[in-house]
């Protein structure tokens, strides 16, 4: 009980004093995870729509794989990306290991299946509903995709936020490919792991609460923005 209240007090202190180290770490957390969400959405939304609308050989396999990969352990993603970006790996010459870019790549891979899979589910339902109309209007594949993505925007927002939640909260992948380097690749989750291993449980818990607040703020801001620009329902 005492440990928990210490954690809350620590979180309060960190936020109220705008601790510079915290601002840097939280900023990098946001930057990495939002970049990963942007990249994964850019690929995952059209991919999910494509799988719903077009039938092609291997589609069933892709659907099953995407669903299965929704539960990818972050550590495994981190390991795979590490092996890719390692100096001895295929992309080693780029020198990306232990940089924020590597962390963004790992989180993108981690959440792409979530965003693509959830997109596919909502777009499939909508496509069943719209199919005859859009065919009779001779809509092109690009027009069909755009229409479905726009009209499914509310459920897609949920998909994107689910991806963000997983990205900002994971520690396994960014620890391996980022290295938790102070002032360079340390994010909230790796800082929490570090403070826990030092036995600074109150600080670790405080950072965890900051992470929670950050996730809440991003979700609330997105919903507020969405209801302003997309109209109420």
């Amino acid at each position: 009980m005492n440990g928990l209240s210490d954690g809350f007090r620590e979180a309060f202190r960190l936020v109220v004093t705008l601790d510079p180290a915290l601002v840097e770490i939280a900023g990098l957390s946001l930057f990495v995870s939002l970049s990963a969400v942007a990249a994964a959405s850019l690929i995952g939304l059209p991919l999910g729509a494509l799988i719903s609308v077009r039938s092609f050989p291997g589609r069933g396999v892709i659907v099953v794989l995407l669903n299965a990969f929704m539960g990818l352990p972050p550590v495994v993603v981190g390991l795979v990306v590490y092996l890719m970006l390692s100096r001895s790996g295929p992309f080693g010459v780029l020198g990306l290991l232990f940089t924020p870019t590597a962390m963004i790549i790992a989180q993108t891979i981690l959440i792409l299946p979530i965003i693509a899979s959830l997109t596919r589910q909502s777009i499939s339902d909508l496509w069943d509903h719209y199919r005859e109309l859009l065919q009779s209007l001779d809509a092109t594949p690009a027009q069909i995709t755009a229409t479905l993505l726009w009209d499914a925007r509310r459920s897609l927002l949920t998909a994107v936020l689910a991806g963000f939640g997983r990205a900002i909260a994971e520690v396994g992948a960014v620890m391996i490919v980022g290295g938790n380097i102070e002032h360079a690749t340390r994010v909230l989750t790796t800082a929490i792991a570090l403070e826990t291993s030092k036995g600074n449980l109150a600080l670790a818990l405080g950072l965890g609460l900051v992470l929670l607040i950050l996730a809440l703020v991003v979700n609330a801001a997105t919903h507020a923005l969405a209801s302003r620009t997309m109209g109420r329902r």
Partner: protein, 274 residues
């Protein structure tokens, strides 16, 4: 929010542009103690001030540090597993393998000390007493330098740790996690002095056995072989190692203390003229 994002972009750009920027930047894999004890924060700024070289510590286990060295993903490494280091050096993966510093392993456990080991000066004897009392004991269980050393101490006590179970728990985790576990269980655990001194969640744990002579825990520093990995900035790496193992670096290690207690001992005799 845009301010933070822009800062993030800056960080990312620096990360990408590492090889091109003027300050020399080295990545050094270190074991947990080096960072968690606070030594990294004490030592590396001094190194930067003296040489202009920024060393970024990446905290990993000994096994992972050696893998990173073989793959060429780091420039330097500090570990404390003499046999594995010798094998690594023999394989040609690293060069300039030099001793850096020493601390010692100590046995910590619950204050009520059910095995009655407090005050003993031989760790192996103490382990035998713990085994006899079947009091809970946490092992790292992660093939780290500390784990390897702990197993050797069990063998010295005439006990094969592979036969132990129940009260003997393999955490499969780093030193900090193992200490957290021992604090939660009220268990005995073998730890290096540096991590213990900096550890803040001690709970019922206290130092029970300090070896006399001490159970040495030697740390060594190595450079990843630039012939195999040409991107390693060998000149800067040599300057960093020279400083750390030279009089100034060694003095800095010697003056590092946690709560007034020295955590590491330099290997270079301060009276040594070199």
């Amino acid at each position: 929010m845009t301010g933070i994002t822009r800062r993030g972009v800056l960080v990312a750009t620096v990360g990408l542009a590492t090889p091109a920027v003027a300050t020399e930047r080295l990545r050094m894999a270190v074991t947990t103690t080096f960072e968690n004890s606070g030594l990294a924060g004490h030592l590396l700024p001094k190194l930067e001030a003296a040489t202009g070289i920024v060393v970024q510590p990446i905290v990993v286990g000994t096994g992972q540090a050696h893998t990173l060295a073989r793959q060429g993903d780091i420039d330097l490494l500090v570990t404390h597993a003499p046999q594995q280091e010798a094998a690594l050096a023999a394989s040609g993966a690293v060069v300039d393998h030099r001793p850096l510093m020493v601390n010692d392993f100590i046995l910590v456990g619950p204050r009520d000390d059910p095995a009655g080991v407090a005050g003993l000066t031989d760790v192996s004897t103490s382990l035998r007493a713990i085994a006899d009392s079947r009091a809970p004991f946490v092992s790292r269980g992660d093939r780290s330098g500390t784990h390897v050393r702990e197993r050797a101490l069990w063998h010295d006590a005439g006990i094969d740790p592979d036969t132990l179970s129940g009260w003997y728990r393999e955490a499969g985790a780093g030193m900090g996690a193992a200490l957290n576990m021992a604090a939660g269980l009220g268990a005995y655990v073998l730890t290096d002095r540096g991590t213990w001194l900096a550890f803040r969640n001690r709970g019922p744990l206290t130092v029970l056995v300090v070896g006399d002579p001490p159970v040495d825990n030697p740390y060594a520093i190595m450079i990843v072989n630039p012939d195999r990995h040409p991107h390693v900035p060998i000149a800067a790496a040599r300057r960093a190692v020279d400083w750390l193992t030279g009089p100034k670096g060694q003095a800095a290690i010697g003056t590092f203390a946690i709560d007034g207690a020295p955590a590491f001992y330099p290997v270079l005799d301060s009276e040594d003229p070199s």
